[in-house]
Subunit: 133 residues, 2 copies
DNA sequence: GCCATGACTTACGTAAAAGTCAAATTGCGA
DNA sequence: TCGCAATTTGACTTTTACGTAAGTCATGGC
């Protein structure tokens, strides 16, 4: 495991721009250490970035991702705050389950569309058809 | 099954604004029939709206949703176009599978966070803890 | 006939999430 | 130590997905 990554290494690995990474830092999602003014990303920063991009792919906003990230941090010492976090965890979980159902719904529609295409191709007498599902 | 829905009925059912529905029509996602100037939504429009909102929840853009919707339409008569659609279906499917993995990853992180909170609460000697997973 | 209600169009506004560009600075290899 | 590529900050621009406001139109009840 490497100790540090440069910003461009991360942009290449994740297919994003430096502007994006700096933007995430401005938004408080990332906090790389610095040598002089240059950002140095630890493996934990890299992991965090990976999680941020996961959230993005699922349609979460920066604000939501920031909130979710805060739930992963060291749990606080106060019972009320812990309960708050637990509630939010439950909420997010429900949201993710909904997204899962959405995915299954869309997959079903895609399969129907594929089926219709394959049927149509058969009607047209087109060969070289391979089924993936 | 009702024959038509008004715009406000749909806004109430799906928790969105009339502006949003009209915007989707402007963007070519919906094409309700009209009586005079008033929009009348058929059950198929309602279904389509449901699908649009599913796509939104999964983070697809209007442009992407428009493209996906076009795949659901009546399959065209030309073999090349059919193949194009099949390829896009495969791409979208792969994308949805990726999102599914993203969800599972996030769920795992949420569970870890929950676990940490529960542990912390136990340390504090806080009772009334119920586990959901 | 008048008004409330709901729907419509048009136009402008805006927040989020970067993209783009410029100018200064820095690190590092020769 | 020079020079160039990489990095930095800062400001401005763009795109997306609507929100909001202003004014019009149709219609059903009193």
């Amino acid at each position: 495991m490497r100790e540090f990554y440069t910003i461009t290494e991360l942009t290449r690995e994740f297919g994003i721009s430096t502007r994006t990474i700096r933007f995430y830092e401005d938004e408080g999602l990332l906090s790389p250490v610095r040598r002089g003014r240059t950002r140095l990303f630890r493996p934990s920063d890299r992991q965090l970035l990976r999680n941020i991009l996961r959230g993005k792919r699922l349609g979460f906003s920066i604000a939501e991702i920031r909130e979710i990230i805060q739930m992963y941090r060291e749990p606080p010492g106060e019972a009320g705050q812990l309960r708050t976090i637990l509630r939010r965890v439950a909420d997010r979980r429900a949201e993710l389950e909904q997204k899962k159902r959405d995915i299954d719904g869309m997959l079903a529609e895609l399969e129907a569309a594929e089926e219709a295409c394959l049927t149509r191709m058969a009607e047209l007498g087109v060969g070289q058809v391979s089924r993936s599902g």
